[in-house]
Symmetry: C2
DNA sequence: GAGTGGTCTAGACCACTAA
DNA sequence: TAGTGGTCTAGACCACTCG
């Protein structure tokens, strides 16, 4: 699957960084060394290193080498396009997902979704509301809208597991990128009820528009988090190109 | 300054997208066409297009071409390493910065900063507290800690303008990447006072560790936002490499 | 089949860092 | 000066899309 040379190199090096074989502030082997080790061209090594750099694993220093900057403690629900089930898995979290409702609706009743996904009013959508509980307390309410046309066989049972796994593994679609907005908003009475009370009565709210690799927006997600439990972590680089 | 070929191409294409000459869903010229237009090699064109893709301007579709996905409305204090003055400028915001305090302190009194910047207790720091006001209301309180060693000539006057501009243009240092964490926290009484009241008494809190291009952490920033005014926007891609 | 983007190569020249 | 990463080239072969 990942049989590209640069992906293999990326995987091996990132794996060694995550496992701790390379620690923060360590030097990676030089590009020339990696060329010899992997028996590939320099541009291929550089492609792998560039990926490591944009993903926050290393910093390349001209004239010096590549140094590891990844630090486990600064990790977490990272600014990445990852499904809740995937986060849960990678963090060994003891969350339980419960499907509160699963309906087929018309976009015309949800103007915000219409504009976000740029669809017409008669487009059919699956509306899925799910809660994420830790023990007895609900910490997250996820409301999702999916294009029925792209996944006509979606069911409540699938929604109880991982919809992303279904989309990628069963349907063979490729999820690619998203736009997110994070705000802090008062809870509606319905939300307060689902949360079974929350102090403060405010929710950290993440709205996302998710796109496939063919650039089609297929999902609109509203994720309401109990504010006291919310943390969003991000790695970002300063734009290298200025006017 | 940006005399690289791929940067020039990036600038020109991103400029045309931002200005609206290329609209969302438009096709960019094919790689081969760009090769001819710019009289460069294909890898150089591809470098520019890759940058446009990772920065959320385009999506490349195998067998088809590059399509514009950038959409102005989904813009804003984006997940990027940008200083407040730069945001202000790019959005024509009518904010006023006021320096509340400017001190030289010892790291030992700020254990959170010590661990964040990985420095020893006797390291000298500038502690700068600034408020950002729109009219009469304070919307943001920024608390910054900078390594004195790297910028001994920092002054309160500079802090009233743009510290980032001073660091890059006066000192010639290159600001490179940062780790951020966003949380929602109750305000302290001191903060409530600076905000001159805020309902709810919660602050959207962004903590960042900012690094230079040589991977040295030089700044720790705590940015408290009036929750009702806070919005954080992010573009992210799904990791292409899986285990 | 023609055109598109994706991967990879071998080699060149440059700018920067460090001893 | 030797070693490092940054840019650029010309060409190859592949996989995908679409008419």
């Amino acid at each position: 699957m990942n049989s590209n040379k640069y992906r293999m190199i990326y995987q091996e090096l990132s794996g060694k960084i995550i496992s701790g074989e390379y620690q923060q502030h360590d030097q990676l082997p030089s590009e020339n060394l990696l060329v010899k080790q992997y028996q590939v061209s320099r541009e291929t090594v550089r492609k792998a290193l560039s990926l490591l750099q944009t993903n926050g694993f290393i910093q390349k220093l001209k004239g010096k080498g590549s140094v590891v900057i990844y630090n486990e403690s600064m990790n977490f629900p990272v600014s990445q396009l990852i499904s809740f089930e995937e986060i849960k898995e990678s963090l060994n979290m003891d969350y339980v997902t419960h499907v509160e409702s699963f309906d087929k609706v018309h976009a015309s009743d949800y103007p915000a979704v219409m504009t976000a996904l740029k669809i017409s009013g008669n487009t059919e959508l699956f509306k899925v509301v799910r809660t994420r509980r830790k023990g007895e307390t609900v910490n997250i309410i996820d409301t999702d809208y999916f294009l029925v046309e792209l996944m006509p066989t979606l069911t409540k049972e699938i929604a109880e597991q991982s919809i992303y796994s279904y989309i990628e593994n069963q349907l063979g679609l490729v999820i690619s990128f998203s736009n997110k907005a994070i705000t802090f908003e008062p809870m509606t009475t319905a939300e307060l009820e689902l949360f079974n009370g929350a102090s403060p009565p405010y929710a950290a709210t993440v709205r996302s528009i998710v796109h496939l690799s063919n650039a089609v927006a297929f999902q609109y997600n509203i994720s309401k988090h109990r504010a006291s439990e919310f943390k969003f972590v991000d790695f970002s680089r300063r734009p290298t190109i200025k006017k």
